[in-house]
């Protein structure tokens, strides 16, 4: 019996090792990050394709203003970064990375818009913990996940996918990456796409 117990312990240990997903957690958030474990990589199917017009939307931002996608038409390229939820791993370090890359977005005349399905107070506390962000953060909370749904990236549990959309000045989708939710999209790929814009 003792042998069997040892075996069970070994199996549990193996499973734990297999389930863990490395994501280099920042000490910044200490014990504040809720770890949902390994999730189904993608849990939605988008109807959008590169070359299609990006669906317009208008959402409240952290600063209090509403941000409408079409207001940038003819003026700026737009990068939408959907992240699944505040206070979760991967998400909590994706935006701080973009936070030190403002000059790269500016160089390509691109505006970054962060979107989650969380409400404004949650986004306020979370982004404050990141030390503030230079780009607008939009709340797709009410009606819940409506914009995420419009982009085909709303997951069955009400969070969104980890997804990037590059939209050019004409409002056309030039790049999209609905990424494995458990992994951070490498910044390289996004920058390569920005370089392709005029």
């Amino acid at each position: 019996m003792e042998r069997l117990e040892r075996m069970v312990f070994f199996i549990m240990l193996s499973l734990f090792a297999l389930a863990s997903v490395a994501s280099a957690a920042s000490e910044q958030f200490k014990g504040l990050i809720y770890d949902p474990g390994k999730l189904r990589p993608i849990d939605s199917r988008t109807h959008l394709k590169v070359g299609m017009k990006a669906p317009d939307f208008s959402l409240p931002s952290l600063s209090g203003e509403r941000v409408t996608l079409s207001q940038f038409r003819g003026k700026k390229n737009v990068v939408l970064t959907f992240v699944p939820a505040a206070w979760t791993p991967v998400c909590s370090d994706q935006w701080p990375g973009y936070n030190i890359a403002k000059s790269i977005f500016e160089k390509h005349n691109a505006l970054l818009l962060g979107i989650t399905v969380d409400n404004i107070p949650t986004l306020f506390a979370w982004t404050r913990e990141m030390g503030g962000l230079w780009f607008p953060v939009l709340s797709d909370f009410q009606p819940h996940g409506a914009v995420s749904k419009k982009y085909g990236v709303l997951r069955s549990n009400g969070t969104s996918e980890r997804a990037l959309f590059v939209i050019d000045k004409k409002g056309v989708i030039r790049y999209m990456d609905v990424h494995d939710i458990n992994k951070r999209p490498p910044f390289d790929a996004l920058v390569r796409e920005l370089e392709k814009l005029e």
Binding site: L4, A17, L18, S20, A22, A24, G97, N99, R184, P186
Partner: protein, 194 residues
């Protein structure tokens, strides 16, 4: 069912679930602590001549930490994506500069950074943003990160490098180094550099 059968079933189940989980089996190791030995990792030899010469390296390919020409090696585990590392960057730069001004140890204490899960491009973004003057390496595949127990970042290791190519960790902690001058004094003490 006898015990042997139970064990066999359990083992088969473990393998089956393991495959489904898609795990590579590359499990994380324990974080090496003060007094222990830092794992034998290999990093890519820097392309920049100045960085090669700083570390006392030559050629191409990879190098082991024991190849670094120093008595003490300070390793920062960081990430471009880590806000704390971003705040810490100016302090670590100051530490590097403080070491550079200390004639007696400037060739004996070297500093490197390893970007956990960062691509070379991402490491470059960090390097450029903070004008990091010491060599930074990418750990895109989390290989090093897993060897050191997936620490939170920033994490600092200070290694005493021995002539027999072994090393002893004299500092292994998460979080800020605090005042760079005081940290250098501490490193001198701990590593016995007088």
């Amino acid at each position: 069912m006898n015990e042997g059968t139970k064990i066999l079933i359990a083992a088969v189940l473990a393998v089956f679930i393991g495959i489904r989980a898609g795990g590579s089996g590359n499990a994380s190791e324990k974080t090496p602590l003060k007094g222990e030995r830092f794992p034998d990792i290999r990093l890519a030899v820097p392309e920049k001549e100045a960085e090669k010469s700083y570390l006392g390296l030559s050629g191409k390919g990879t190098f082991a930490l024991s190849d670094v020409k120093a008595d003490v090696l300070i390793i920062e585990i960081f990430s471009m994506y880590c806000p704390y590392c971003q705040k810490e960057a100016p302090l670590v730069n100051q530490l590097f500069e403080t070491i550079g001004k200390a004639e007696d140890v400037k060739n004996r204490i070297k500093v490197i950074g390893i970007g956990a899960g960062n691509t070379p491009f991402e490491v470059d973004v960090f390097r450029t943003q903070y004008a990091v003057p010491f060599p930074l390496f990418d750990d895109q595949s989390y290989d090093v990160y897993k060897r050191i127990g997936e620490v939170r970042t920033p994490y600092f290791f200070v290694l005493k490098l021995h002539p027999d190519r072994s090393n002893t960790i004299v500092y292994s902690k998460v979080g800020t180094i605090g005042d760079p001058a005081q940290f250098l004094a501490f490193v001198r003490d701990e590593a016995g550099l007088k």
